[in-house]
């Protein structure tokens, strides 16, 4: 009994220690979240005001155009754009990634390693080097300031990593399984959907989270390729709080909370798959 208690206490102690450490790590981010509920003059005060005296929803009201000072950021269209762009590009990247990952995992072909490495290295080109040429190409094609324009770019950002994870995952699944299914009269396609896809679900979920977060938070290319409420995403919308001479930091924090919460919820929901997905993806070549 005593021993059991001790063990439990130790587990609890470890949990608390880890929790405190995690929270300390999060402090710079939590400060942003807290600032969303405080007026500017309190956040940037000197001497500092440590204990919030004036918690308020004004910063959110301002964004949505309520209250005394209205800024009225078109946050709903930004949110809609972000959702559409991030979700669509994630889904497309996953489909392309599954096809590619399957090809690498299940087939043997010439220059396979070179193809794989090539895809990865293309991804390594810094966004800043691409921004102008992509802009010029997009403007010829009429893709500037469209959701489609950003979706295409984000798909290409996410495809290499998606292929990588999913490739690793498919390799985990013994080929004998799908072979057996085929012997039983399934077509190769059916075997894939019935046997291999369900087993690879975690890996796909993990790749999906990473792809979603990348698209959801991307700023550099979005700021170049979007112009108006037709396609501006939430991170680009953050810049609405900067004027020539001023930054409305409290307003920006409120907007930040609007950006963070959906991403956090999504991550929490797919936690289980995430770890499992990463565990098998990638490594076992």
């Amino acid at each position: 009994m005593n021993r059991e208690m001790k063990k439990r206490l130790r587990a609890a102690g470890l949990w608390v220690t880890t929790f405190v450490l995690m929270v300390i790590m999060c402090v710079p981010g939590l400060w942003v979240v807290l600032s969303a509920f405080r007026p500017n003059r309190e956040i940037l005060a000197k001497p500092p005001i440590w204990v919030p005296e004036d918690l308020t929803l004004n910063n959110f009201g301002k964004i949505f155009g309520f209250g005394a000072e209205q800024v009225a950021i078109p946050v709903l269209s930004y949110f809609w754009n972000s959702m559409v762009i991030a979700l669509t590009s994630t889904v497309i990247a996953l489909i392309i990634g599954m096809a590619g990952g399957y090809a690498f995992a299940r087939f043997r072909f010439r220059f396979k390693n070179a193809w794989f490495l090539g895809l990865m290295l293309f991804r390594a080109v810094p966004g800043i080097a691409l921004s102008l040429p992509v802009f010029m190409l997009w403007s010829r094609l009429g893709l500037i300031d469209t959701q489609m324009g950003l979706i295409i770019v984000y798909v290409s950002l996410n495809v290499p990593f998606t292929i990588w994870l999913i490739d690793g995952f498919f390799r985990q699944i013994p080929m004998s399984l799908s072979e057996a299914a085929q012997v039983d009269g399934c077509t190769r396609w059916q075997a894939f959907w019935k046997i291999e896809f369900p087993l690879a679900r975690s890996g796909i979920a993990a790749a999906g989270v990473f792809a979603f977060l990348t698209s959801w938070n991307e700023f550099a290319l979005a700021s170049q390729l979007t112009r108006s409420t037709d396609s501006k995403t939430l991170p680009v919308g953050l810049m609405d709080f900067t004027a020539q001479f001023t930054i409305d930091w409290a307003g920006m924090c409120a907007m930040a909370v609007i950006i963070i919460v959906p991403a956090l919820i999504l991550t929490f929901l797919v936690q289980k798959h995430l770890i499992a997905g990463l565990t098998f993806g990638g490594v076992k070549g």
């Binding site: 940037l44 102008l132 802009f135 500037i144 108006s228 810049m239 001479f245 001023t246 409305d248």
Partner: protein, 440 residues
């Protein structure tokens, strides 16, 4: 804020003053036309955009705002548009310092805006908006910097006595930049309180250095475009910033400061003197935002050793593209945004107007409201806009020259090299820029 009542009050108060003001102006009829525009965004610019509806009502046209960003972002976007030839919009926000870069994409407004509409502007401001003899922009509001200070610390008897003991003359709001330096060092008590502050990076510090250079009797370029800012006057100008920095009279972070940092710094009550734009004055005197509200003095920018006041100035403006498909509608729109009534809207927020009559009427209005502070602000800024204001050289290479200059200014500030070395190196690089651009 009961804006409506205020407006009604203003209207009644002003009726006798202006016999036939803008009310009767005809903005034309562009039924069904959609005007595409790119505007500078940000809290202090928004009230004007609320007026756009009225223009739409009057003309039957509608306005599509393609983008609303700060000017640095807008600048990048416009350059991309030039590169990709996607100038499929009509009206863009512009700025006198940026305008020369854009070459001939903007049309000469003297050809499409009536002489009458131009007559009401302060002539000097229109001149600043002219590039290569073409009026490429219509000024919306101007800006120049003057010196704000905390009144009570200058009036404090102990401070006055101590200052006289140390420096041998009376403590009073400074008339010259040398006095500013003395007083800033006197007041400084880092890290809690600072004598003054300045912006320390990007075009901001280049501009501050440039106006000090002029006040010291120097020039950026010789007549045949050779960089001459590494003259004695240049070294004196740069030393002003370096000395203050080394003495700890300014916050140690200034090399990374931009306008928001200096503005918020002064509002936090931890800085004695602050050279800043007129647009900040309402903010500084608002108890909600500022600890020094009600305790602010303001004087015209001090003089350099050449007896010239600093007066780096620029105007926020509107331009019409050469590729615009309906220049008449665009001209009507920019005229509307800069007309008497619209400028009054912006002036009430403390932005500096570009029409002579708005200066006077806004002052009268502040006086009748009992807002003495804004009266002082407008008097001070009106004087400096009329007498002290000057722009950077209106050449496309200004930003590029600025980009070789400011890192060297910082290098001198943080002690990597002496002011003379820093300016010599910058001058060499600037010479290359000018040669590449075909000036020499």
């Amino acid at each position: 804020m009961p804006r409506l009542t205020m407006k009604a009050m203003v209207a009644t108060a002003l009726v006798p003053l202006m016999a036939v003001p803008a009310v009767a102006q005809d903005y034309g009829n562009y039924d069904g036309y959609t005007l595409r525009v790119k505007l500078i965004g940000g809290a202090q610019y928004e009230p004007l955009y609320a007026e756009i509806e009225k223009w739409e009502e009057m003309t039957g046209a509608s306005v599509e705002i393609l983008s609303r960003k700060n000017h640095f972002e807008l600048d990048r976007e416009i350059k991309q548009d030039i590169a990709a030839s996607t100038l499929d919009w009509c009206v863009g926000s512009n700025h006198t310092s940026f305008a020369p870069q854009y070459g001939s994409i903007y049309t000469d407004l003297r050809e499409i805006v009536s002489e009458d509409a131009l007559a009401g502007f302060v002539p000097l401001v229109l001149e600043h908006g002219t590039v290569d003899g073409r009026l490429v922009q219509l000024p919306r509001h101007s800006d120049v910097s003057n010196l704000f200070y905390i009144k009570s610390i200058f009036e404090d008897a102990d401070n006055q006595a101590a200052f006289r003991d140390e420096y041998g003359y009376d403590l009073a709001p400074p008339e010259t930049w040398d006095q500013v330096k003395d007083q800033a060092m006197f007041f400084a008590d880092p890290p809690d309180f600072f004598g003054t502050q300045f912006v320390g990076k990007d075009e901001a510090i280049t501009g501050r250095f440039y106006e000090m250079l002029v006040a010291e009797g120097g020039q950026l370029f010789s007549d045949d475009w050779e960089p001459t800012f590494n003259s004695d006057a240049g070294v004196r100008a740069l030393s002003f910033f370096v000395d203050l920095y080394e003495a700890g009279a300014v916050p140690v972070g200034v090399p990374n400061y931009l306008w928001d940092d200096t503005g918020l710094g002064f509002a936090s009550g931890t800085v004695a003197m602050n050279l800043d734009w007129g647009g900040w004055s309402a903010f500084f005197n608002d108890p909600e935002n500022s600890k020094v509200a009600g305790d602010i003095g303001l004087i015209r920018a001090p003089k350099g050793s050449a007896g010239i006041r600093t007066g780096w100035s620029g105007s926020h403006t509107f331009s019409v593209t050469e590729t615009c498909d309906n220049k008449a509608a665009a001209a009507s729109f920019v005229t509307f945004l800069t007309d008497y009534d619209r400028q009054m809207v912006e002036a009430r927020k403390g932005l500096l107007p570009t029409r002579t009559q708005v200066w006077d009427d806004a002052k009268a209005e502040f006086a009748s409201d009992g807002n003495d502070f804004l009266v002082t602000v407008f008097e001070t800024y009106q004087a400096s806009m009329a007498e002290d204001a000057f722009t950077p050289p209106l050449i496309p290479e200004w930003i590029e020259v600025s980009n070789v200059l400011w890192p060297k200014l910082q290098a001198a500030m943080v002690g990597d090299m002496s002011p003379a070395e820093a300016l010599n190196e910058a001058a060499e690089e600037a010479l290359l820029v000018m040669e590449d651009a075909g000036y020499r």
